[in-house]
């Protein structure tokens, strides 16, 4: 039933979308019973001010029912951050080295926050930084079985998250997304890349502790790789009790490795919600600072620990005593660490671990004491010659 127009006061009426008031006044409001929309007359046209087909409200809050939210015509849904809860997902930060080979071990050798592990004793895997060749991404990581290798143990790439990050996922659906492609001689069974997302209880757990008795939310899901980049996604629900988590990409090589027995990966994102949104890019400086919570070096970024003849950026002091244990030098970290880190010092001349340099003499034995989240103290443990400066570089690791 149409509402009669009037010239005074705010009056709201009901109508059909096909039978609105013929002579509305400026500001008149109507509710359409067939569309459930509310409209207002702006003195020239009807303007929709509420449409439940796009936005609805319930006792639990508002829901945007369209696939995207727009502001002034621009889709803003992919730009609302902070969404990616992983570290170094675009493979931007490589403090340790831009290429390295792990043999029969479980360690951090190359890109920040990503652990390498080989499945067999004596087996090798090489992780290297490569140009991505993918729009929007500068780098990818290449995970490779060295040419001629015959070990067929599983090769893992793992990121562990600390509890303060994991609790944000608890009791919610999360979505993993990443880009991957294979090399010409990729030997993974059926061209498959496997993914595991495993959670558990306990604070800041080492990944093997989580794997033992953990909750495999993604349990060896296989993705068939091609030579072209593909984006893969998976959504899972994280139980509310979970406190620890690790993500694992792996493949099971077969036969003898060819020259290009590898896969490449980048754009790894883990976010709340059941849809993969575009990858959330962070600036290099921001990503570096996030990674330095777990690992830091005093060397310039392009220098892998430990080069020779490199005093730049080192701890440096001209001591006024030569007494053993008499010189204490405090070295602060750039970023507070996750926990008190393990610290290794290197002399600046030969890059030998465990020593500092006394210029004019040579390598000197020292100790790292009073290690805290924000720094440590270096001291000499032998009598010095008093010939010159003390120089030392360091690395500090608080990885999971």
């Amino acid at each position: 039933m149409a509402v009669s127009s009037t010239t005074g006061g705010l009056r709201t009426g009901v109508c059909l979308s096909t039978d609105r008031p013929q002579n509305p006044y400026n500001g008149q409001v109507v509710y359409e019973t067939d569309t459930n929309r509310t409209l207002v007359w702006d003195n020239s046209a009807w303007v929709v001010v509420a449409d439940p087909a796009l936005v609805s409200f319930s006792g639990t809050g508002a829901t945007v029912t369209a696939d995207a939210m727009t502001v002034a015509g621009e889709n803003v849904t992919p730009y609302t951050g902070r969404r990616n809860l992983l570290y170094n997902g675009a493979m931007q930060v490589w403090q340790r080295a831009t290429s390295g080979t792990t043999t029969g071990a479980d360690n951090y050798k190359t890109m920040d926050r990503w652990r390498n592990r080989t499945g067999s004793i004596g087996q090798s895997m090489t992780v290297s930084r490569q140009s991505a060749g993918l729009t929007g991404f500068q780098y990818c990581a290449r995970i490779q079985r060295p040419s001629g290798g015959t070990d067929t143990g599983r090769l893992n790439l793992i990121q562990s998250l600390e509890t303060s990050d994991v609790v944000r996922f608890a009791g919610q659906t999360v979505t993993l997304s990443f880009y991957a492609r294979k090399g010409a001689n990729f030997s993974g069974a059926s061209n498959n890349l496997l993914t595991y997302l495993i959670t558990g209880t306990g604070t800041d757990q080492y990944w093997l502790n989580i794997a033992s008795g953990g909750n495999p939310l993604i349990n060896g899901t296989t993705w068939t790789l091609t030579s072209s980049w593909q984006r893969f996604t998976a959504s899972v629900f994280v139980p509310s009790t979970e406190e620890s988590m690790f993500l694992d990409f792996s493949y099971d090589p077969t036969g003898t490795a060819g020259a290009d027995d590898y896969y490449e990966i980048t754009g790894i994102q883990l976010e709340l919600g059941d849809k993969a949104t575009p990858f959330e890019h962070r600036s290099y400086g921001e990503e570096l600072a996030l990674c330095q919570r777990y690992y830091e070096k005093s060397y310039d970024m392009g220098k892998n620990p430990s080069p020779t003849n490199d005093p730049n950026g080192s701890i440096n002091v001209w001591p006024h005593t030569t007494t053993a244990y008499g010189i204490h030098i405090y070295a602060p970290f750039s970023v507070r660490k996750r926990t008190t880190p393990t610290v290794t010092m290197y002399d600046t001349a030969t890059g030998t671990a465990g020593y500092f340099m006394e210029t004019g003499f040579g390598l000197r034995s020292g100790q790292v004491i009073f290690i805290g989240e924000t720094g440590f103290t270096l001291r000499n443990s032998v009598v010095l010659a008093g010939t010159g400066y003390i120089n030392a570089h360091f690395i500090a690791s608080a990885e999971l």
Partner: protein
């Protein structure tokens, strides 16, 4: 293989021989967790001796 050094005002320092790393006795440090596991296997660390180095 580990070595330890103790001093009243410093406490106990743990030295990992394989990479010359100093490990703080912090339960949240994963290297310290590995050291504790190494002790549980029955291993015993040596005393850190500066005379063995330069």
């Amino acid at each position: 293989m580990y070595q330890i050094f103790s001093e009243e005002n410093i406490g106990t320092l743990i030295y990992r021989v394989s990479d010359c790393a100093w490990i703080p006795p912090d339960p949240a440090n994963t290297d310290y967790q590995e050291y504790l596991a190494w002790l549980e296997e029955g291993n015993v660390p040596e005393e850190w001796n500066p005379e063995e180095v330069i």
